[in-house]
Symmetry: C2
Subunit: 454 residues, 2 copies
């Protein structure tokens, strides 16, 4: 009897570039450039530096795979290049989000596929094919693990490691049996707890960096004959039993393969805060503009949301650090009301000290909304109710967000966001920025993925 995981592995090992619809290819390129910007923006973070030092201590002094950061030297082996780039791309909270799986696929799939493609000297089409496979496998595993898993685990890591293994195995040209071993060996390494959010420590970058390292290990080792457990998802001692408190969603593993594409189910982040605040930010922005309400006019805000938002946002306390402040609903809505936006440049040490923001923050209350909760994570909806000092009361419900699959960013918006992230990452060379954009939009015609950064 064929298991669901075997069907997924067979599909993943067999996918050809020509099987992929044009809209999936185009969206993959959009998501890739969006990821590249995040990687540039995050590269100077202390967690990234600590991981980079480890890589310098443990890895080869040079190799075929490149760091997105010339200060680190230029190259190393693929597992280590991916580890550093993945850590970088998960710093600024601007990477994509696959709604149904509650995963950030870009931050693990692209760095792994890029490093491995460089190692194997693969071309743009091979790279795109591998990324589509990685998104599909990773996000399906994330959806399989579901909400109860996400309440405890950073699904980007636990689903991500399997997506990385699949993308790597596809680039290595592994057959379905070795693809299955890659998935199995990745699954038995799945890890990543939310505990770090409680004290603002640095596991977030560890999780994405290690998901890359571990997934690449799984696939390279499978190529060398290492057998992995065959049913690591649904087996009696597998992830579905050990890592999922509720019942996992088995159908997510293999339903509509080749028809329903994870790449098209992924959302761009427009705001710089945690994605769980975005429904409220969008709703608030619409109230501000529709009714011409100003920061000073607002007495209180109620935002109605789903349980997972409480689970994650509740861990960051009052928002003492810049990173925590992006996870504090009150602070994020205060920034939104004051600035009319929530961009990366709006979350600063200065903002943390702003008394008016801190006062506003206290007047924001989150409420659980049963309808919104029932729709999550298929839909990331939100409702905001603003009460003004004048007594006026405005309410706004949003079904889809800016950047959602139903309303993706345009190429112009993606370029704008990329340039802002590059500037935030202290890349001042406009020609270099333009070269990266140009190569991304022409990704399928690249003979090599080398020197993208230069």
């Amino acid at each position: 009897m064929t298991t669901r995981t075997e069907r997924l592995a067979t599909w993943a090992s067999g996918l050809q570039y020509d099987d992929i619809p044009q809209d999936v290819i185009q969206r993959t390129k959009d998501l890739f450039l969006d990821w590249f910007g995040c990687t540039i923006a995050g590269r100077h973070h202390p967690a990234v530096k600590a991981i980079a030092i480890f890589v310098q201590q443990m890895g080869p002094p040079s190799g075929k795979s490149e760091f997105v950061d010339s200060e680190l030297g230029f190259s190393t082996s693929p597992a280590f290049a991916a580890m550093v780039n993945a850590a970088s791309s998960h710093v600024v909270e601007q990477d994509d989000l696959h709604n149904r799986s509650i995963m950030h696929p870009a931050t693990v799939i692209f760095p792994a596929a890029l490093a491995v493609a460089q190692d194997l000297n693969a071309n743009g089409r091979d790279f795109i094919t591998a990324c589509v496979v990685g998104y599909e496998v990773g996000c399906r595993v994330g959806e399989f693990l579901g909400k109860s898993h996400y309440a405890r685990f950073h699904s980007t890591a636990t689903g991500g490691v399997i997506g990385v293994a699949a993308a790597t195995a596809r680039l290595l040209g592994l057959d379905s049996a070795a693809m299955l071993s890659s998935i199995g060996t990745a699954g038995t390494q799945a890890s990543g707890l939310w505990q770090f959010l409680l004290d603002a420590t640095r596991s977030k970058q560890v999780h994405t960096g290690k998901a890359c390292f571990d997934g690449i290990f799984a696939a390279y080792a499978a190529k060398s004959g290492l057998l992995g457990p065959k049913d690591v998802l649904e087996g009696p001692k597998g992830m579905g039993v050990a890592l999922v408190p509720d019942t996992p969603i088995a159908t997510a593993i293999d339903t509509d393969l080749g028809l329903d594409w994870a790449v098209l189910g992924s959302s761009f982040k427009w705001h710089a805060s945690c994605r769980h605040t975005h429904p409220s930010v969008d709703a608030l922005l619409q109230i501000l503009s529709t009714h011409e309400v100003k920061f000073e006019d607002i007495d209180s805000v109620v935002t109605r949301t789903y349980q997972a938002a409480f689970d994650v946002l509740g861990l960051s306390g009052r928002g003492e650090t810049v990173h925590q402040s992006k996870f504090n609903m009150g602070f994020v809505l205060a920034v939104t009301a004051q600035k009319g936006q929530a961009l990366i440049t709006d979350f600063t040490e200065e903002a943390l000290q702003d008394v008016s923001l801190r006062n506003f923050q206290k007047r924001v209350r989150m409420e659980l909304d049963e309808d919104i909760n029932a729709a999550f994570p298929q839909k990331w909806q939100g409702k905001v109710i603003v009460t003004c000092k004048s007594g006026e009361r405005y309410e706004k419900f949003v079904e889809y967000l800016k950047g959602d699959p139903q309303s993706p960013l345009t190429r112009t918006e993606i370029e704008t966001k990329f340039k802002a992230l590059a500037q935030y990452g202290a890349v001042k060379d406009a020609d270099r920025i333009q070269r990266i954009i140009t190569r991304a939009w022409d990704l399928e015609n690249q003979d090599t993925l080398k020197e993208l950064w230069l």
Copy 2:
């Protein structure tokens, strides 16, 4: 308020060689030589080779840390040397077992501490101190996670990664805060599922190898400033919640630190089969010798045991491979009855085809014994009831096993076992074997841990 994990970290970062009682030092040396033999014996296994190829692909071509296998070249960086040596040492099912935590500490602590000690050019006393710290921290975490965790996870990996991080952090001389970060970053990487046992695949070596890599990463990164979650064990999103179905044993973390030593709670394995078969093997051997019962005389065997034995042994089916056969109670007792022992040389492809063994295997039945189950894992007890074809019936209960802390191997027995393992690992040079033994017995006076293998 100080948490239990903070107290453990403070103790681990502060332990000095002179604080360690002599019997703990001597037992550490016993366990080290025992581990070294296992590492030699397992080095040619396909899983080890696949991991070694990955290390050659991703690591530096040379370094300060050595492989226990000259075929692999001589050296690399510590994370990778430890990864390969740890995989090697968990192949032949002859490594030690810490009873209360249901963990095999040697197979993760020694390879990590050895590789890091070589990297830092530490001496024998530094090495012993780090190993004692690693055993203590790892086994306490394993005991904290407990039986319900062990039913799903390979505790050697999930507790082991934290022990590795602590041992590494001690060698790096980290203070208590950085020790706590090392433990936290290790804990958020904890993984290792039993699923692989169901299809005889190769995750066992992945788990120990990766526990070393991941734990070394945690400590080196902590030295570079990477902050880890502070309460990764007891926190609301920590291991105790996410990875433990029942209630974890919180007191295990910090009770009697410096009084109750994990090194002294670890058992040597004398038989080559899964430790969960050892109580039955010991009881059967005693019946055989006391009553002069022979293989051919036996009609049936009932062995009464604890639940964890069912959980693990039940996964290996009929025992189709040499590795699975060591996890099949019926087959292990058949071998024991036929050979009068269960040594590494008794589990062979030939034995798998032996019809008389396979017939005997079918006449062995496991029963759950409530009293034995309640005492586990503090005591690994067993009871065997043999019914002979003549109608005679013999029953034997064992409270402690050969190799248990209450009855450890003598140095002569350890040397005998080491020589057998070295021969099994195709080391024929008796002088080299003797040199390793001599250096192990004089470990505290070694200025360097380099070239132990030569």
